[in-house]
Amino acid sequence: MKLRANLDRRMTKIEHRLIKMTSLVEQSITRCMMSLKDNDDRLAISVVEDDRMIDQLEMNIEKNCVNVISLQQPIASDLREITAILKIITDLERIGDYSVNIAKIQISLDKGMGEETRYLEAMGDTTRVMLQKALASFIEKDIELAREAAKMDQQVDDMYEEYYHYQLERLMRDESSTEDLVPLLFTGRYLERVGDHIVNICERIIYMVEGINEYY
């Protein structure tokens, strides 16, 4: 009895697109951080340009979700999954925008990044691992993994805090480099926000699987 073959087919299609969107966003973070590290404007430009694909996928997934809701009237786990996906794509799109902001900062820098590399790289790496875990938890419907990823946000916050004080001190000491320090301070702020959006994503995955709201 294939009562829900149509619904299953549509859900699978949406899931595949969400996985694709997540990996594009992950690449976007990786590449904007790499462009900063290598002072590579060409790579940064490609991050800005490729953001359009992420935006398009978001609109496309949203349209598909609305179609499923109106044509298939999903309930229970199906409805939870659809509503979770509708919210997850907003967070993913926003993470893409932060990568673009960081890439634009790279393009605007005169000298490229200096000593702050170690802070920003560590933050970038951590958010990337968080996103990978979030994606795996979505695919496996594994809420432990989602919780793990969400809890990693504390590390990002701590690193940002440390970085913020470090940059502030430098700002006060060394006025010649103020111009670059401010955008680089923003970069840390953006990565901190990326972590928050991944936490949102993890919360939606937990809701999707368990039907409960957990906040991190």
């Binding site: 829900r4 309930i75 229970a76 368990e210």
Partner: protein, 250 residues
């Protein structure tokens, strides 16, 4: 408040065990929906509530069915009184082949009420409650069989209401109706529940979700779960309920 409390109910048709160890509370002034695959015992269970199964030879019932705290299967319990308090509306509208007015007045006349004014008032009031008055007030003496299917079904609801029941049982009351007539019956249930307790069997998940406060899921004679409709359709407790309502069954 609980209108019905059912405890450890079992029902057999001959050797066939149709309802198994059912425990259920039915709350007053709420709509309770019974869902489940064909043959799982929904109609049988509904009939338990006003002893309609008594009419079927070879049925055996054990357990407790308390209506307002009184055991309805007790020897001293009166079936006729029970059925006026617990009215029933069936899947196929079944008006009697007589006028609209006489259909609604029928039960009252059987009870011996002859006063014309009382009959007039009750007929009008019942038809109003059943949201049919405006459509039939000028054709009260027409034969009820001339009404549309949806009107006939609301007439049957008016007929039940005329006896001032506490509970109205409905077995797939809209499965023979078009979406507009279905919408009218659904709206009607919403307005009726302030005065009555309603239990409805429906094959439509969407209908159960739209109209009921509580949903009970039956499977092969077992009550798998019953809970607030919001919860059952959002995150059912039992995997079998989830599989059924999302169409994963079979």
């Amino acid at each position: 408040m609980k209108t019905f409390e059912i405890k450890d109910l079992n029902l057999w048709y001959g050797d066939f065990h149709a309802l198994k160890d059912i425990d259920m509370d039915i709350r007053n002034n709420k709509v309770s929906a019974f869902i489940g695959p064909s043959g799982c015992g929904k109609s049988t269970f509904l009939r338990v509530l006003n002893r309609m199964n008594d009419l079927i030879d070879g049925t055996k019932i054990t357990g407790q069915v308390l209506f307002n705290g009184q055991e309805i299967y007790a020897p001293e319990s009166d079936v006729v009184t029970l059925r006026t308090k617990v009215g029933m509306v069936f899947q196929k509208p079944n008006p009697f082949p007589m006028s609209v007015y006489d259909n609604v007045a029928y039960g009252l006349r059987v009870q011996g009420i002859k006063n014309k004014a009382v009959l007039n008032d009750t007929v009008e009031d019942s038809l109003k409650k059943a949201a049919l008055w405006e459509e039939v007030k000028d054709r009260l003496s027409d034969n009820a069989l001339q009404l549309s299917g949806g009107q006939q079904q609301r007439l049957c609801i008016a007929r039940a209401i005329a006896l001032s029941p506490e509970v109205i049982l409905m077995d797939e009351p809209t499965s023979a109706l078009d979406p507009i007539a279905t919408g009218k019956i659904e709206e009607l249930m919403e307005s009726l529940k302030k005065d009555y307790t309603i239990a409805i069997v429906t094959l439509s998940m969407q209908q159960a979700a739209r109209i009921s406060d509580y949903t009970a899921f039956f499977l092969l004679g077992d009550l798998i779960e019953m809970g607030p409709t919001r919860e059952v359709f959002h995150k059912p407790n039992d995997k079998r309920t989830e599989d059924y309502i999302t169409g994963r069954f079979g």
